[in-house]
Symmetry: C2
Subunit: 243 residues, 2 copies
Amino acid sequence: MTTPTTEIIGILGGMGPAATADFYAKLVATTPGSSDQDHLRTVIWSDPTIPDRTEALLGDGPDPTPWLLDGSRVLRQAGATVIAIPCNTAHAFVPRIEEHVGLPIVHMIGEAARHLSTMSPRIHTAGLLATTGTVRAGLYQEWLDRFGIRLVLPEGASQDREVMTAIRAVKAGTGDDTTTALLVRAAQRLTEQGAQAVIAGCTEIPLGLPAEAVDVPVIDPALVLAQALVRRATTEGSTPQDE
Amino acid sequence: MTTPTTEIIGILGGMGPAATADFYAKLVATTPGSSDQDHLRTVIWSDPTIPDRTEALLGDGPDPTPWLLDGSRVLRQAGATVIAIPCNTAHAFVPRIEEHVGLPIVHMIGEAARHLSTMSPRIHTAGLLATTGTVRAGLYQEWLDRFGIRLVLPEGASQDREVMTAIRAVKAGTGDDTTTALLVRAAQRLTEQGAQAVIAGCTEIPLGLPAEAVDVPVIDPALVLAQALVRRATTEGSTPQDE
C-alpha cells in the first residue's frame, strides 16, 4: 500500500456465509502489505437469513430488498465508505437499493466484465456458471454486451441438474468430488459452445470448481471485486472508471 | 439448528485479518444447517490498524484498548448480542474492556482450557505455541491452572526464533514449508517436555501448522470458540457454564 487509506470496506454478506468468509480471505490475500497494520479496515454484515435471491427472482419467494437495505444501513452506521456485495445474484437488486444506501457500491459484475475485456488474448465469447436467478436476470448479459463480449449459457438441463445442484451442495456444506465433477462437466459444455473463458458467476462456484480443472481461464468475480476494492482504497477514493 | 435464534454474533477482528477470515469460515463450517438461512447473523469489525498486542504487552507500543472499545461499540450498535475476539493476545486486554462493552464476551482462552479439561484420555500437561505477548501475560497459565492442567512453554530461543518467526511470516502472507517446519519443531520440543496436547494459541498458528504434522492432539482455540458460539446461539442465550 503506497499511502494510508481512510477507506473502510463494507461487505454486505451472508449470501451465502461461506462465500462471505471466502471473499474476505481473498480481500486480505489481495492486499499488499507485510504486517496487520497494512490491511484495510473492513466491516462485514453477514445476514444469512436474507431470503433466497434466486427464489425471489423466479417469483417463488419474498423480496430480499428490505434485508439488503437494512444491512447497508448497518454498514454505513459502522463507518463504511464503500459497499461490496459478494453475491452475484444479489446484484439483480442493486438498482433497487443503490439510490438509498448513500455509499458507492463497487459492482462485482461490472468489474468482472471489465476484467474480461482486458484479458489477453482477447476474449470474444465467455461462458457463465451462475444461479438460475443470475442467468434469468440477465446480469452478465447486460454487462458483457457493453464490452462486446458474447455470452454462452448452459442449456436448461445442465443449468438445473449440474450448476444448481452443485451450488446447493456447496451451500449445504456437502460439496465433494461429485460436486466438482458436475461443475467441470458444465464448464466443458460451455467451452464446446465456444467459451474462451468461464465465469464462476456465483460465489459458491470457486469453492467447488478448481480453476486448473477447466481448459480455459476461469474468472472469479469475487477475486476481481477484491482487487478492485484494493485498487480503489490504495489510490484513495478514485473510482474504478478512473484507473 | 433446533430453533431459530435471535443471537447476532459480533466478531472483534483484524488481529490479524487473515485469522479473522479463517475464524469466520470456521464459525460457518461449525454451524449445523443445510441452507444459507440456517446460519447465524454475524457482524465483523476488522480493524487491522489496531496497535500490535504483543508490542503493547512488552512495553514497546501503544495500548490497543481504545481500538478494542471502539470496535466493540461498532458491534453493539450493529446489533450484536455477544462478542467473540479471535485473537489470543488481545485477551490480555479483556479485563480492561469487559465492563464497558455492555455485551457478554465469550472468552476464547477460557473455552480452550475448558475443552482441554474434557478431553479423553485426560490431559495433565499441555504445551503452548503463542505470541510472546500471550506467554508473558500468563493468559493460558491462569486458565489452565483453574482446570489443574500443567502448562509447558517453548524455551526462549524456540519462542523467538521458531514461534514468533512463524507467526510473523503468516501475518506477512509469506508462510511456506519453512514456516510449517519451524512450528512442527517447536511443537515437538513441547511434546519432549511432556505435553500431551499442543495449544495453537495464536490465531495465525493453525494457518501454518497442519494438525496431522504433530504427534499429539493440536487444539485450535479459534475452532473451540466457534463451537462455543454455535452452542450458545442454538441453546438460545444460555451461558457456556450452563451446558
